[in-house]
């Protein structure tokens, strides 16, 4: 990778020529007027290091991806095409001519499409509210939008039964107004709502960032040309939001396409998705079929993502500054009919959001303080304390889990953010096939977690034999690396649109003023896409804290368990201990999100993203 501008660049030496003849050419008598570049050795060393930092970053990123992702996954995928030592495509032929699997694929895509529509429908109003209104706690609320992302599916399932079940909150509420009951559990609807619970916040978060960087001047222009507010929104705002909306939609589709525990917990086996069968074949050690299914799943997901990336690339809008319109107050100054209608709509949305997002979480909190006879108890928290105090060395203790989760999240942040930025930089350069590279770099989003888990076991934990030595990888650093690989695509996806939109002349100005490519990235580009970086960082934390599959595989020592691992361990016949741990997870994660966002600074004041 060359370090120059996103323009076509035929010379790979562009960044290398640090010891340029130019600076040496300055003659003494003209020194006062000439460039006067700091020429001392140390300065050169710094500049030389800087000039190569991006290249080094790209190499390290690629190496990490190969070691922690592509190689391990390939050890599983190879099973699909090499059977009994000879190459074959028969597994694919078998699957693609099997009516049963075709139906399952069709249903999987169908429920993913519906989930996507629902997630966008619920996420967009949230984005509108968060981007366009001012109210107390708005920023905290925005920080917390991706909280659902980290909740283990079993916790969500418990919350959903409590909310939407036969005796749940919803039916109780409906009964009060003389309606219902509605039967949602074990239907497609329950799956869709749960998918919206996970993904609508994702859509909201991504679109909020885009909405906050909409150029208000364009709206004003449209208004001045006679467009009604609605028309101006449709003509000016929607096109600016479209890439973000479609990105949220594409990610939602990919995630729900590979959904599995939530489907089985809320829908049941009659509504099984393809991932259910990947899991089934995997644990029964039918690797050929499992790998073939996973590859087909991956191709579909990445194909979709590639389509989106091509679109995003074509839609890149050059943007220099960000001039968002001022936020409105949630309580209007004057109650005009229009203002009242708007607030009524917001209130209506709030009720829906409360049911979809809040109620399952509240149910979980209630479960953590409810005894089996329904009375209030702190016994479940007492269990956590007791396990902490008296647990054996091989048992999972809450504080250790919290500490590990936070350490891994911090490590993930430190690795995934630079990785994601580097990939963004590499894929916003202008060259043929850059979007293909981008799509392939997004593969960690689309390969099923259980396949990655098995790959890590085979490729890293068992080790590879090289020249008579068996090299094995495991433990904390490997966990951080695996988390970072899972997390960096979110950084990339949040940073790329903003980075692509930065006016090239801004970067070139900095370069011509003496900044290396790396300095330009740090001084100019990243500050301008800070909202995207912060959003990506929050996602990285969320992914790390919520990650389960790779963690349990790589936690080869007994002291590397995380909060989700603890929840799984404490899950017994009673829900109490696990839900108590779930609440701990909730609080710790919420706090980290707020810290990440606050640490990211007043993103709104300067520089937008996306």
């Amino acid at each position: 990778m060359t370090g120059s501008t996103p323009g076509t660049d035929s010379s790979p030496a562009t960044d290398g020529g640090v010891d340029a003849p130019v600076s040496d050419a300055d003659t003494a008598d003209e020194a006062s007027r000439s460039t006067g570049r700091s020429d001392d050795r140390r300065g050169r060393l710094v500049r030389g290091t800087e000039a190569r930092a991006l290249q080094a970053g790209a190499i390290v990123t690629a190496a990490l991806l190969v070691v922690v992702f592509f190689y391990p996954v390939s050890t599983v995928f190879i099973e699909a095409v090499v059977v009994d030592g000879s190459p074959t495509l028969s597994a694919f032929v078998d699957i693609l001519t099997d009516r049963f699997y075709l139906d399952i694929f069709a249903f999987t895509a169908y429920q993913a499409a519906l989930s996507t529509v629902l997630s966008v429908a619920i996420g967009l109003p949230a984005a509108w509210l968060l981007a366009r209104f001012e109210f107390p706690g708005r920023r905290t609320l925005r920080s917390l939008t991706i909280l659902p992302f980290v909740l283990p599916s079993i916790m969500v399932a418990v919350g959903f039964v409590a909310t939407f079940g036969r005796n749940g909150t919803l039916n109780s509420a409906l009964a009060i107004v003389g309606l219902g009951p509605v039967e949602l559990m074990f239907t497609l609807k329950a799956i869709l709502i749960a998918h919206a619970f996970y993904n609508a916040p994702l859509v909201a978060r991504i679109v909020t960032a885009a909405w906050e960087s909409v150029d208000a001047r364009a709206i004003e222009t449209a208004r001045s040309l006679g467009a009604s507010p609605l028309r101006a929104t449709l003509d000016v705002v929607v096109p600016q939001l479209m890439p973000a909306i479609l990105m949220g939609a594409a990610l939602t589709f990919i995630f729900t396409f590979a959904s599995f525990p939530i489907v089985l917990a809320l829908g049941g086996y009659g509504l099984a998705t393809i991932e259910v069968f990947i899991y089934r074949q995997l644990i029964n050690l039918n690797y050929t079929e499992a790998a073939a299914l996973a590859i087909i799943e991956l191709v579909i997901s990445l194909g979709l993502l590639y389509g989106y990336l091509r679109y995003e690339d074509a839609k890149r809008i050059s943007r220099r500054g960000v001039h968002p319109p001022p936020r409105r107050s949630l309580l209007p100054d004057r109650w005009t009919p229009k203002a009242a209608m708007t607030r009524l709509a917001i209130a209506g949305y709030a009720v829906i959001a409360a049911f979809v997002f809040l109620s399952p979480i509240v149910s979980m909190i209630l479960a953590s303080v409810t005894a089996s006879d329904g009375s209030f108890t702190l016994a479940h928290y007492a269990f956590l304390v007791e396990r902490q105090a008296t647990g054996a060395s091989f048992q999972v203790r809450p504080l250790g889990a919290i500490r590990n989760s936070l350490m891994f999240a911090l490590g993930t942040l430190a690795v995934a953010v630079p990785m994601g930025v580097v990939v963004s930089v590499v894929t916003t350069r202008r060259y043929r096939g850059r979007k293909l590279v981008d799509a392939i770099a997004m593969a960690p989003l689309a390969v099923s977690g259980i396949i990655v888990g098995l790959g890590l076991l085979r490729g890293l934990v068992f080790g590879v034999e090289i020249a008579g030595w068996r090299i094995a990888v495991g433990g904390s650093l490997a966990i951080v690396a695996a988390h970072a690989v899972s997390a960096y695509p979110f950084v990339t996806r949040n940073v790329t649109p903003g980075l692509a939109a930065i006016d090239r002349s801004m970067i070139e100005s900095a370069r011509s003023l003496g900044a290396t490519r790396t300095r330009t990235l740090l001084d100019i580009e990243l500050p301008l896409v800070r909202a995207g970086v912060v959003a990506g960082a929050a996602f990285a934390v969320a992914i790390s804290i919520g990650e389960f599959n790779s963690t349990i595989v790589l936690a080869t020592g007994s002291g590397e368990y995380t909060m989700p691992v603890a929840i799984e361990r404490y899950l017994g016949r009673r829900l109490g201990p696990a839900t108590a741990m779930g609440c701990v997870l909730l609080v710790v994660t919420a706090a980290s999100f707020v810290v990440v966002d606050r640490f990211g600074g007043d993103v709104e004041e300067r520089g937008g993203g996306l």
Partner: protein, 362 residues
């Protein structure tokens, strides 16, 4: 200070050629302008000089040294873009001072002093803490200029720096730019599509078209002695026609050219050889054509060696100082200047020496 040479420089993007085989040399302290319509390759040439892109072939030299592979940050260039490209997350002073992190300010100035010096130079003293967005377009452009100059670059590169500004502002900024340039004596490459701007500020001008250099010369030479039909048409108002050479005078100084059934006498430039039967393209600047009402002119028709054509006025545009008059003559239309709007039949007269032969073909 610094000379710039381009030697056979080409830049291709896949199938398309942005600039082909460009050779030119820019003298120390010269104000050199690249002018041409959009897509002519002028901006590419500037970007090649800046080091934002590397040429596909050819060599670029600063002070005789090949700069191939030298990244922009090490070339000592200051660049000003059309859209200012100010860093929106930095104040005016931070913008101007940005380059001083990497380069010691010229002289014994501290970075802060240098920033103040530059802000004063562009008449923006006291604007240090303003946000770029709060400035007017002209002010932003001056900040951009100050920022480019702050590290004391060897070369100043300006890419359409005025085109986003209104006419009046453009004129005053142009003057200011020219003053600063000559004060600093910095070698400057200026890119514009506006030929008038090019003529007014430059020491020399290169006219580009379709990726090729059409002509390099002083503004006066470009204006008065265009070498190609393109330059003739592009720079200033002009009347350009093609016709066949019917007569070559004995002294080889004048040719007679048949156009629209009339015969037009033209001086043969010293550097061109013309034969009878050649097809030539000629041009006459409107200001060299005198206009008289046809009735008044009767009787003078065959007098002297002036070319005389008769036509009818199509339209007159009163511009204050002059009036641009469009006159139809046969199938073509001529542009002339008068003091006041006129109409009706007119006779146009111009000296053979005012006729410039810009291309010859057989």
């Amino acid at each position: 200070m610094t000379t710039i040479e381009l030697d056979g420089v080409s830049k291709r993007y896949g199938e398309t050629t942005a600039i082909a085989d460009a050779t030119l040399s820019i003298a120390d302290s010269e104000f050199f302008t690249l002018v041409g319509p959009s897509g002519c390759g002028k901006t590419t040439t500037l970007r090649l000089i800046a080091g934002f892109e590397e040429p596909t072939s050819g060599t670029i030299r600063f002070d005789g040294e090949d700069v191939a592979g030298v990244p922009p940050e090490n070339r000592g260039v200051g660049v000003v873009f059309q859209n200012y490209a100010l860093f929106p997350h930095m104040t005016v002073a931070e913008n101007v001072g940005y380059g001083l992190q990497f380069t010691d300010p010229p002289g014994d100035l501290s970075p802060d002093e240098r920033v103040q010096e530059l802000l004063a130079l562009v008449d923006l003293a006291g604007m240090d803490d303003r946000d770029p967005d709060s400035l007017s377009g002209g002010q932003q452009q001056r900040v951009a200029l100050a920022r480019a100059l702050a590290p004391g670059p060897r070369v100043l590169l300006l890419d359409e720096p005025m085109s986003a500004l209104d006419a009046q502002l453009r004129e005053s900024l142009r003057l200011q730019l020219k003053r600063i340039q000559s004060e600093l004596g910095i070698t400057t490459v200026y890119v514009t599509h506006d030929q008038e701007e090019a003529l007014s500020v430059s020491d020399r001008v290169a006219v580009l078209s379709g990726g090729a250099i059409e002509q390099i010369g002083t503004p006066q030479a470009i204006y008065r002695r265009p070498d190609t039909p393109f330059v003739a048409r592009f720079v200033g108002d002009n009347n350009v026609f093609s016709g066949r050479v019917t007569v070559i005078e004995q002294d080889d100084e004048t040719a007679t050219i048949a156009i629209e059934g009339a015969s037009i006498h033209a001086a043969i430039p010293a550097d061109r050889s013309i034969d009878r039967g050649d097809t030539v393209t000629i041009c006459v600047r409107p200001e060299y054509v005198s206009v008289t009402a046809s009735e008044d002119d009767r009787g003078k028709k065959s007098g002297g060696e002036l070319n005389r054509l008769t036509g009818s006025v199509v339209s007159s545009e009163f511009l204050g100082e002059t009036t641009r008059v469009h006159v139809s003559w046969g199938e073509t239309e001529l542009l002339v200047r008068t003091t006041d709007p006129i109409d009706g039949q007119v006779t146009l007269a111009f000296d053979p020496d005012a006729v410039r032969i810009v291309s010859v073909g057989s």
